[in-house]
Symmetry: C2
Subunit: 240 residues, 2 copies
């Protein structure tokens, strides 16, 4: 009961089937297991990795849920072409096993966010309910309590809810999964922090006024700003 969530997450022992997942994932992403190729049998993999077949099966279940493989009883498991059938979650999986694609993936994510979030803000300004507005105000104007990064997450999330489109919410969840990868790079800078706090207020008032065009513009500008700030940071980091 006393353990903080941070400790729980950092200490948590990696489950064996997650390690197996990682190995297979790496083989697929790196191309050691090519599209259409048949995986070893469950029994053979259990032997190879020195684990139980049940454990292998849990790993295969994960890859199947990502649409990275198909499994057919009596036959075997085959690698699918993730560009044709894979679901969006695979980019996170990719990042975890292949750091070389990191920059490309992050760029792709930010581009998608730059396309979607302004429209999300637009819809939110038009459709926001009174209760969403209230929650937005509580989060945007109260400077105490949580960190800026946490407040930023919450603002985007609330705007998603206010937009009335569940996919906007889920897309926002998706972006946030990558805050761990690059969010701190942005928010550790004091100037960026200030800029985002201004954003929180501005977008709240635009949504309050139901000025959709302005909300869209404000969202667009903060995303462009943060992208620029982030990439210059990454470039500096690479030079150092």
């Amino acid at each position: 009961m006393l353990d903080s969530i941070e400790i729980k997450q950092s200490i948590k022992r990696t489950r064996v089937h997650e390690q197996v997942t990682r190995i297979l994932l790496r083989r697929i992403i790196r191309g050691k297991l090519q599209v259409g190729q048949k995986l070893s049998t469950e029994r053979a993999m259990a032997l190879e990795f020195g684990v139980n077949r049940t454990t292998v099966r849990e790993a295969l279940r994960y890859l199947e849920n990502l649409d990275l493989i198909t499994i057919r009883q009596g036959d075997g498991a085959y690698v699918k072409n993730y560009l044709e059938s894979g679901n969006i979650q695979i980019v996170k999986a990719i990042l975890q096993v292949d750091n070389s694609m990191r920059f490309q993936v992050i760029t792709a994510i930010m581009e998608i966010r730059r396309i979607n979030s302004p429209e999300m803000a637009y819809s939110a300004a038009l459709k926001r309910s009174q209760s969403h507005l209230q929650r937005l105000e509580n989060t945007a104007l109260n400077r105490w309590g949580v960190s800026v990064i946490e407040r930023d997450k919450k603002i985007h999330h609330l705007i998603g809810l206010a937009s009335g489109n569940i996919l906007h919410v889920l897309m926002t969840n998706f972006y946030e999964e990558f805050y761990d990868f690059f969010g701190h790079l942005y928010f550790e800078n004091e100037k960026n922090k200030k800029r985002s706090e201004k954003f929180h207020k501005d977008i709240f008032f635009a949504i309050k006024k139901q000025n959709a065009q302005e909300a869209k513009k404000i969202m667009r500008e903060i995303l462009l700003y943060s992208e620029k700030a982030l990439f210059s940071k990454i470039k500096c980091g690479a030079d150092a």
Copy 2:
């Protein structure tokens, strides 16, 4: 070897752990299992459903992959708030267990597509390689072979590839998972078919000319058209 893919898919016996998944999914989506609530123990569920604990575990693994539950060794499994942490794949899961949200979900998906795909076409026109252009031409201009709906899927997919953003490709995969739900309603109409075939040619030529603005406009127009066509269809279906 003789069985067609259709037969394979329709006949395929539902795996037991998938049935368990379905039950638990329904309980969560319908709110019988509320956010924060603890699920029964694996052993208890195995008893309740009359299956083995291993089978229950495979179902739980699925829900965990969807970020619908968290599992903690020594403690148990808890329902998460999917609006805060769920990944995009859950909307498909929702559709499979709760038909009442069907209209809302499809509307949400089409809105997101209307936001993204025109920008995807824009990028594709700017960045398309010669090989992507070639594949696009083969698909867009050859009227023989596959059905219009299959050609349509392929066109969108190729535009995604040409855009150079892997997320555009994966988002396109995502939309396509719902063609089964509403695609046939659109493509069974001869006039709609003709309209889409025109779209295929038009967007190809725009991308060939690298006219990004035009490609974006063409994409936007076909999406608006198809949405209108689809909703009038759904409305008629509801009246009949």
